[in-house]
């Protein structure tokens, strides 16, 4: 509450207009600065579904038989493999030895880790080399044109 000066009575018209303009524009401007973010918020972002347990790993036809591809699952890499028989498999691509990213070797039909020569079979089982544990398996479904990879629900 500010102490008021001895300004009793009417103020000059230009002064009053200034105050009204200031108040009006400030008020409108501040309302806009509140409603602009709200309006942007209301419209869903480009990736409308975010489930961390499901991701589109690729398109049908993108992978040839007996090849693999690294895709992103949250912030970890996953490996999508199209076997020689055309079937899709998906595994975690983080090697269980020292966390390097594995790759698919079509010539060996195995999953291979380039860092220390670790080998896994197509089910993720560690079959040779240093890896102490198998790779986590994911489920793969083909939905229309998309290859969708999901992982098991955690409670």
């Amino acid at each position: 509450m500010s102490p008021e000066g001895s300004e009793g009575g009417n103020q000059s018209l230009p002064r009053r207009a200034f105050v009204r303009t200031l108040l009006g524009s400030g008020f409108l401007g501040s309302l806009l600065s509140f409603f602009y973010p709200v309006a942007r918020f209301l419209l869903p972002p480009p990736t409308s579904d975010f489930s961390s347990d499901e991701v589109v790993a690729g398109q049908v036809g993108e992978l040839k038989n007996n090849t693999g591809k690294i895709f992103r699952f949250g912030s970890k890499p996953g490996l999508l493999i199209r076997g020689a028989d055309g079937a899709y498999r998906a595994l975690s691509a983080t090697c269980t030895h020292l966390d390097c990213t594995v790759q698919y070797r079509g010539d060996l039909q195995r999953v291979w880790c380039a860092c220390h020569n670790g080998m896994y079979d197509l089910n993720g089982r560690n079959v040779s080399g240093p890896p102490p544990r198998p790779l986590q398996q994911y489920e793969v479904h083909v939905r229309g044109n998309e290859i969708v990879v999901t992982r098991a629900q955690r409670s």
């Binding site: 500010s2 401007g29 890499p77």
Partner: protein, 433 residues
């Protein structure tokens, strides 16, 4: 003074034994342990109350794999466990008594090398233990009359033998090193042999021990992995690298293609062990390169020679890549804490770290061009991710700029309200406090 030897016992001892038997009968009724105890076993009756080394108890036998398969004392020692006293330990009953150390391998092999017999119990058991043993240092020395060396029972124990797959067995991978060290770390025992006794001490602080015992990774090596078990012999200087390369294939490949291969052979220096040691293998660090105090390169190379330069260059490249990755990590963490989404960049960081790991393997080629392939791949990624971090922080700053705008508008509104209040109160005359 042990009592009850196989050839003859005096009358006074008979009285003592009689008394003991009564005690034991009572004890047996109370204990009633395993099925092993169901058949009359006069051997254990006495031997369970004797002092060591004759002491053998039912508790021990319960755990023994031979006993579980139906073998008895007589299977190895002869004699007759169903009879009493002298008849039990008579020559007529085939009693062999205490087995001499030099006879132990042949005794064990009498079953374990008989494939048709052993395969009745477990068809996948090996039957070459004795022939392997004869090629080992232990076997060769035993043949020359040295009874101090290890025989079957020293490692496998005797009356409480567990299969090697049992984690309580003295020959389970987790326990092998302590079993070997019983002799090999005993300075007094090893005195006649003039070999070091620090292997176990070194191994215990090695990465292999850490992997095996602390992380439970049974694929990690223990003594027998590199030295063999029954055919135990240390690999010679020229063949150490072969042993290591069974697991460390890349490093061996790179080494074979490097100038070090010929140079080491010429100087009779073992591959791998020269820089990494054989038992006390520590976690390799970037400090092992270069020309600093912990460098292994300077053991041979001196200022001015080509290798010295390569050492310095590779260390510099690796540490700068490490630093670049760390810088990007820190920036991305900062951005993430500010609420920005950097998951794509963080994923790419794992690939940069992969490149660094590969670079640390490729140093075994000691060729700068080969090493730089991996280093450059990693550097490129680290740079990209650092840029992504900067972008994220720029986005964060944009938010703050937006905040600034709205704060200014708010302040304008507040100013407008205040002036408006002054105006209307000037008019109406009511005085605000």
């Amino acid at each position: 003074m042990p009592i009850g030897r196989n050839n003859g016992s005096g009358k006074p001892l008979r009285a003592i034994r009689g008394a003991l038997r009564w005690l034991l009968a009572g004890g047996f009724l109370l204990a009633g342990t395993s099925l092993w105890a169901q058949a009359p076993n006069t051997c254990v009756d006495c031997h369970s109350v004797l002092d060591p080394p004759q002491k053998v108890t039912t508790e021990q036998f319960v755990t023994d794999i031979h006993a579980q398969k139906g073998l008895t004392c007589a299977s190895c020692h002869g004699g007759d466990p169903t009879k009493d006293d002298d008849q039990a330990m008579s020559k007529a009953a085939g009693f062999r008594g205490h087995i001499k150390r030099s006879q132990v391998p042949e005794l064990c092999a009498s079953c374990h090398s008989d494939a048709s017999y052993v395969h009745k119990f477990n068809p996948s058991l090996r039957t070459d233990q004795l022939s392997q043993y004869k090629t080992s240092v232990h076997g060769q020395r035993l043949a020359k009359g040295d009874e101090q060396v290890a025989v079957c029972t020293d490692c496998h124990s005797v009356h409480d033998i567990r299969p090697a797959s049992d984690s309580r067995s003295s020959v389970h991978p987790l326990n092998v090193a302590s079993t070997c060290s019983r002799c090999h770390s005993d300075a007094a025992h090893m005195k006649p042999y003039s070999i070091p006794t620090d292997q176990f001490a070194g191994y215990s602080v090695s990465v292999h021990h850490e992997a095996l015992v602390l992380r439970g990774d049974l694929s990690a090596p223990t003594c027998t992995t590199c030295h063999g078990n029954h055919g135990a012999a240390p690999p010679g200087v020229a063949s150490v690298e072969n042993v290591c390369s069974n697991c460390h294939a890349f490093q061996a490949q790179l080494f074979d293609g490097s100038p070090h291969k010929a140079a080491f052979a010429a100087a009779s220096m073992p591959g791998c062990v020269t820089c990494h040691s054989n038992h006390r293998i520590q976690h390799p660090t970037d400090a092992m390169l270069g020309t600093g105090p912990q460098s292994v390169c300077t053991n041979c190379h001196a200022q001015g020679d080509g290798g010295f330069k390569v050492a310095a260059t590779t260390q510099e490249k690796l540490t700068s890549l490490d630093a670049a990755i760390l810088r990007a990590d820190e920036l991305l963490d900062r951005a993430e804490r500010s609420g920005m989404d950097v998951s794509q960049a963080k994923l790419s960081q794992t690939q940069a770290r992969d490149a660094l790991t590969k670079a640390r393997v490729s140093i075994h080629s000691v060729t700068v061009d080969r090493i730089m392939q991996d280093v450059q791949a990693g550097s490129k990624l680290a740079e990209q991710n650092l840029a992504a971090g900067h972008q994220a922080l720029a986005d964060r700053d944009y938010r703050r700029w937006g905040l600034g705008v709205s704060v200014i508008l708010i302040l304008l509104t507040i100013a407008g309200l205040w002036l408006y209040i002054r105006e209307i109160e000037g008019r109406s005359g009511s005085r605000p406090v």
